[in-house]
């Protein structure tokens, strides 16, 4: 445990256990670019397919989500299926990975912002399966 006292003083408490092995210069290539990589090689059925119209759910979780407010309740079109990834809404709170498909969904600018937006413009948002419902 890195205690607050240790943090403030910069010195570990006597007898504090050391983690092994430390990250060394040799192990850097394996961790660069360093992420806990989110793609999962598991078979999960997609609920949607490219070309399908979908609506982003109106969810308002108190915890972590990657569904931006500007897209909630809006209708778009699935453009691509990116494959299966860890679900951040659960992963951030250590409630499980819940791997599922992530799609590139195209939202017309006018759908998001109203008729004053340019009719030919759009915003592409990557959406997890759980964020979507059929439109």
């Amino acid at each position: 445990m890195v205690s607050a006292a240790e943090m403030a003083s910069g010195v570990p408490a006597p007898g504090a256990p050391k983690a092994t092995p430390p990250l060394t210069a040799d192990s850097i290539p394996a961790t660069l670019p360093n992420r806990i990589h989110a793609h999962r090689d598991v078979r999960v059925s997609p609920r949607f397919e490219p070309g399908q119209r979908v609506r982003a759910r109106n969810i308002n979780p108190i915890g972590h989500t990657r569904l931006p407010r500007y897209a909630r309740g809006k209708v778009g079109t699935v453009c691509l299926d990116h494959g299966v990834y860890v679900f951040p809404d659960t992963s951030a709170h250590f409630l499980g990975e819940k791997p599922q498909h992530v799609y590139s969904v195209r939202f017309a600018a006018q759908e998001l912002w109203g008729l004053e937006a340019a009719p030919q413009d759009s915003v592409y948002v990557d959406m997890w399966d759980d964020y979507l419902e059929p439109a």
Partner: protein, 234 residues
Amino acid sequence: MTTKRRDFLTGSLSAAGAAMTANLAHGQEHPDHEHQSVPSDPTLRVKALESLLVEKGLVDRNALDALVDTYENKIGPRNGARVVARAWVDPAYKARLLADATSAIAELGYSSKQGDRMLVVENTKKVHNVIVCTLCSCYPWPVLGLPPVWYKSAPYRSRVVIDPRGVLREFGLELPEDVEVRVWDSTAELRYLVLPERPAGTQSLNEEQLAALVTRDAMVGVARVAPPEAGGKP
């Protein structure tokens, strides 16, 4: 190389400035939030934290030095520029890049198989792409290095999804009305790179010369690649 971009505010965010603005934040009431305490200089806190982690055997100082060196000197927009230049001169490579960007970029040695999954979006006369992460600061590190402060800040993140043409105008780029603008919000673990249009008057340039023209801003989508100056040198 001249740009048409307006010079706007260029002050860099400094730790001192951050400390000052953090004092403003202290004046507000946050009954449900634990206030972060902001000491006067992050340098001391960082030194203490690093020493602690090293003493506890969690990190090796050489490893930290190597990471800093990598991102200060080895990984940056020059990587993406070479990808773009290769796509401009080699149609087969361009096709591979648009079909499977992760693999095509890895061909040039810029990301490992465990790296971020990449997508390349192509600018044409009719389509202009621009990249953002409205929710935080996701950015295609393997080809562009670390993002600039403006990309991570509220003004860009908030505006580019709702007023991309206004943002591009602020960067000095005026798009014709018949061009379709596509904004890509990097909400998941896919990372996006714009393949800008090859400027006119570059037929005689080799790949290395072409790469020298490609700017980070063009690969984010807030600028075009400018043609070489009239003097003939890129």
